[in-house]
Symmetry: C2
Subunit: 354 residues, 2 copies
């Protein structure tokens, strides 16, 4: 399929790196294609970033049939543009698509389209270490129809956002709220897909956590509410004694690409790494026994995010001394060194696109 | 708040009643208002039905923060327009809003706005018995922001759709698929709210049911997968011996307004009605014992929908003789007689608006 390119009339300027936040500055262009039963994915185009014209009856507004991905492009010191395991994102998107009855995309084609778009938007990639170009591929259901079924038409789009350094002043440990009452996802549900519904389901508890002074929610399994699953937009790792442990994928946890990367590196480094069930009880017991030395999250936005405090009902524990743990830092440095082209890409995770 | 009215330039014509389906014919105008932190709900207006201009980064596309309602306006034989328990819908909408961190609406104000809109669109209300004007109030999150939190801005809108008779040739019993693997909602989740996510979560199993020749899915509880909860867009009732029974509201079932109405009438008629847990096992056992005489769904779209067959894994049972059961018909007639103004509104459920 050919990609038709329509250039924007006026090009805006990228804010200074230090003024960048997350997810609120968008670039001049976007990639869009449409789907219909008769034509499949068609009308692929790069066009000026602009509002969509969407009927009030569009199914996405009513029935939430929508999936997305989140990945980043990095500018290396020698001005190369790099992508980190990007194909994994589009493969995950196809798994999400299957779960939501959305037609599959051609991974190679959308990879090419994305690269073309990123090259066109090169000036939007900030260059300070820690900054990046956040990439948001999305598919929404567009049938103008009020009845519950899979839509017959869809829109796929990729938008780009210049994002600032997640840690402007070094890695600050976050405070985590273990949610006892609300449930985000469940075995047999949609937790393993990157779909709008999971995030809607997280809002109420997240607001409560915030009101109580906590940064993010740690979700428990929905059945027994005993086993830890993942944080709002990160997977979670714990260092208990010499065991680095992360909850096993059970159908209700997003299989994070950063999670896979941490696991690979840990194996490579000969660490004692396991994917298994971990109960909240075990976490608190390990703390009591003085064995819980680190907790950190893994995800595209922050890469690695050390956790400094956990609250579960009335119980509060501190992990570490207020500074990021050694293991968290080791993974953070290893991953960002690869992403920004500062270390050799021994795992073949990087793709240089320009 | 004043409602600004902008009339459409050209008014389309309503299709013939017999050509009407469900949810695909929209009227000439809609009601819209916007929300911002500073101004609250503002800019209330009735304007021509048209596409919205929505940024690709609008939070509703990514995080599914959206709620809706579904209710109907009926035309009586003497040309009055009637609403059925409409206020209950907006009160339910406010409960959904709370669950999704969406600001509350002023129920009296939106009721007035809706009535004004319906009166303006009177010609779109079909008049054949069984047809109606379907009303879809909706709220979507509109912040152009890629990060998970409750949006700061929202759009509330009401769109109207002329809908045909659900049962063109009499009440046809439907075939129901009891879902063993997939879970729609869970205690501590969002099942009790009318929010996009629940419908997204239902797609995969619904498509599977359809492929197997079944019309709708009957969901089981997400924890034990033992107790029946509700059907795709209906609550469910069973007549077992002389007991009319419906699953008790447990946090993962939508509190249907038709459900409440059936329960009220059953009480009034002195029936043995109970709201309690019902396991699939009990349903099949009751059938074996010859005690399961009727199953029917209750919901705004079909009002009452008799169930003629249920499948659970390899087990299939037929209920009734292929025609709607007596009890289902009794509720159907009583409810539609009230809705179309053919019987006295003894329960005070009807509101005449013009
Ligand atoms: C719910 C959830 N879990 C985990 C992750 C981490 O996944 P990844 O490492 O692929 O960014 C994310 C964010 O992408 C997420 O939204
Ligand atoms: C999931 C679900 N359950 C039950 C119902 C029935 O509710 P009501 O009787 O208010 O239409 C609906 C439809 O509105 C629904 O979507």
């Amino acid at each position: 399929m050919e990609i038709k390119v329509t250039l924007a009339q006026t090009n805006r300027t990228r804010p200074q790196d230090s003024a960048l936040g997350f997810g609120n500055v968008f670039t001049d262009h976007m990639f869009v294609m449409d789907y219909s039963k008769d034509n499949g994915w068609h009308d692929a185009r790069i066009e000026p970033y602009a509002d969509f014209s969407v009927p009030p009856s569009a199914m996405v507004f009513h029935y939430g049939q929508a999936i997305f991905e989140g990945l980043k492009a990095y500018k290396t010191p020698d001005k190369k543009i790099c992508l980190f395991r990007a194909k994994d994102n589009f493969e995950r998107m196809n798994r999400s698509a299957k779960g939501l009855c959305i037609p599959q995309i051609d991974v190679d084609f959308v990879m090419d389209a994305m690269k073309k778009l990123i090259k066109l938007e090169e000036k939007w990639i900030p260059e300070t270490l820690g900054t990046s170009l956040y990439i948001r591929p999305t598919i929404i259901a567009t049938d103008p129809f009020l009845g519950v079924r899979a839509s017959y038409t869809y829109k796929f789009f990729i938008i780009l956002s210049s994002v600032g350094a997640y840690y402007a002043d070094g890695l600050n440990p976050v405070k985590i709220w273990v949610e006892k009452e609300h449930v985000r996802a469940i075995r047999g549900g949609m937790g393993e897909f990157k779909t709008a519904a999971n995030y809607a389901a997280s809002l109420f508890a997240s607001e409560e956590a915030k009101k109580n002074g906590y940064d993010q929610v740690l979700w428990l399994d929905g059945i027994e509410r005993k086993y830890i699953e993942e944080v709002g937009a990160m997977n979670i790792f714990l260092l208990i004694g010499d065991e680095l442990v992360t909850p096993i994928l059970n159908g209700s946890i997003l299989p994070g690409i950063t999670r896979y990367s941490v696991i690979s590196l840990a194996k490579k480094w000969g660490m004692n790494i396991s994917e298994r069930k971990i109960s909240v009880e075990e976490v608190f017991k390990a703390h009591e026994d003085g064995k819980l030395t680190e907790i950190f999250g893994s995800g595209t936005a922050a890469v690695i995010s050390p956790v400094g405090e956990i609250r579960y009902g009335d119980k509060v524990i501190s992990i570490g001394d207020g500074t990021p743990g050694e293991t968290a830092m080791k993974f953070y440095n290893a991953l960002t060194d690869i992403q920004y082209g500062k270390a050799e890409d021994t795992e073949n995770w990087l793709e240089v696109i320009g």
